[in-house]
């Protein structure tokens, strides 16, 4: 009994620690006063201002376009690559998987500056395209890593059976292999999307010409003082994610599946 109380208190303290900063941001989003340390009364004006701020709107636009495109592209390339890698010989597979691990294992800052070095060396202008490529680059390994286990679990005679029964390789792929590994593909795509939305370091080094994302805008504001409308935006985003996760949680009723 005592043990259970201690556990509850401990979890309570950890949750307080996790949610304190978030609560602070939410409270500030309703603060009339612009200064951080001062409460000027309740207001919703920052929520209105949010949609009139061109910097934030532009950053939001790029964040979601890049996340959408990069997760789509990396899911397609990554899924096919995973199928290919799965069918490779032991030696080749090992080499490819190890190189594939590099962006996962390397610190973001090294991946970021290395890509920037490449782009600058071939005289590519840093901007939308370089940011998109960099996101696709760090997303693919995660897609592959989430698809490969599903391929390993799959009964490898299934595709052969389809072929024996007269399916073309393409038809067998579409009707047998892809549906089997779909959970892995979806996990990979979701992970790619979230990684892309949340990325700062790699985007920071690989963008230019006025193309920014949310993280970059927040970073440059954080030192001068953040516009309260950013607090409003984060409140909206957090609520959206919370509702989405709760709905997914209700539907799968199995939390373990939520973990990327």
């Amino acid at each position: 009994m005592v043990g259970r109380t201690i556990k509850r208190i401990y979890i309570g303290i950890i949750f307080l620690f996790l949610y304190a900063p978030i609560l602070v941001l939410i409270i500030y989003s309703f603060n009339e006063s612009k200064s951080r340390g001062h409460w000027g009364g309740f207001t919703l004006k920052w929520y209105g201002e949010l949609f009139r701020d061109p910097d934030i709107i532009k950053a939001l636009y790029y964040t979601f376009i890049v996340a959408l495109l990069s997760s789509l592209i990396s899911t397609v390339i990554g899924t096919f690559a995973a199928i290919g890698i799965h069918n490779m010989g032991l030696f080749g597979k090992k080499i490819v998987l190890n190189i594939n691990y590099l962006p996962v294992l390397n610190p973001d800052i090294v991946t970021g500056v290395a890509l920037m070095t490449l782009f600058v060396s071939v005289n590519m202008r840093l901007g939308f395209l370089t940011m998109l490529i960099s996101h696709v680059m760090f997303n693919i390994p995660y897609v592959i890593l989430s698809v490969l286990p599903k391929l390993r679990q799959m009964n490898r005679h299934m595709a052969e059976a389809a072929l024996d029964l007269g399916a073309t390789p393409f038809y067998a792929m579409r009707k047998v292999v892809i549906p089997e590994i779909m959970p892995g593909v979806v996990t990979g795509a979701l992970m790619a999307f979230t990684l892309s939305v949340d990325d700062f370091v790699i985007s920071f080094f690989n963008t230019g010409s006025g193309v920014t994302n949310l993280s970059i805008v927040i970073y440059s504001m954080a030192r001068r003082g953040i516009k309260p409308s950013i607090n409003a935006l984060s409140t909206i985003m957090l609520l959206t994610v919370a509702v989405l996760l709760l709905v997914i949680n209700k539907r799968t009723a199995k939390g373990d599946e939520l973990i990327p």
Partner: protein, 283 residues
Amino acid sequence: MKNRAKLLAYPYIVWMAIFIVIPLLLVFFYSITSGNIYEPSSLSFTLEHYSKFFDMLYLNVIWKSFRLAIISTVLCLVLGYPVAYIISKSKQKHRSLLLLFFLLPIWMNFLLRTYAWMAILSPNGFLNKALEFFGLPPIEIMPGQTAVVLGMIYNFLPFMVLPIYTVLSKIDKNVLEAAADLGANSFITFIKIILPLSVPGIVTGITMVFMPAVSTFVISRLLGGGKELLIGNLIEQQFTIYRDWHFGSALSIILMIMILVSMAIMSKVDNNNNDDEGRTAMW
């Protein structure tokens, strides 16, 4: 089928060569040359960027990066292990919800979360307002190392809890029952069975916290107020402010090697765990 399907990997192999291998080779190349990077003919071989690094100024930065990252990793383990344990032991219907609410904060932008700590810890921030309200003296930890460590723990704690939780929740209940049947009390069961079985999760957790912590430049910049330079800040400055790509590249290579060495040491600790499954257990 097998031979043809293999071909599907080839486009990605070309992609990997261009966007993973070549950039790293370029960084290595710039780290051992000097001259104008826009004029290939002006580049000449040198090791000066590596020898420059053995200045006390830079060695101190490395030392500080490692010290802060190790402190944060240890604290994450100490704080996170009980969390993983409690969640894995909670009732099935509570478990997924607990996990969900534990993970929810990481869905919020990393920069925002760090910024929120600035709002709490800054000299006239939330914390000091609260302390003032209760008549307590103010705490001034931001900007400073304590705030940096706090920011690291806050941002990376889930990376410690998740792998440990995954391993703990997979422990066969029968093993625990067998231990109890053989007379072990819960403390002995924990020390002799649960803890050893959770080592792979701990190892993954340590790597996943230590790596971003040692290479960060955002947390140290925002919560350290520009005074607490870490190796990440050093690299960032070489590329964005000083435009010394050669030294920046050398620093990147050094950081990479140090991390690879730390990871090799960690996997030695974990040698009884089969590498492939252990590393992917997280996903």
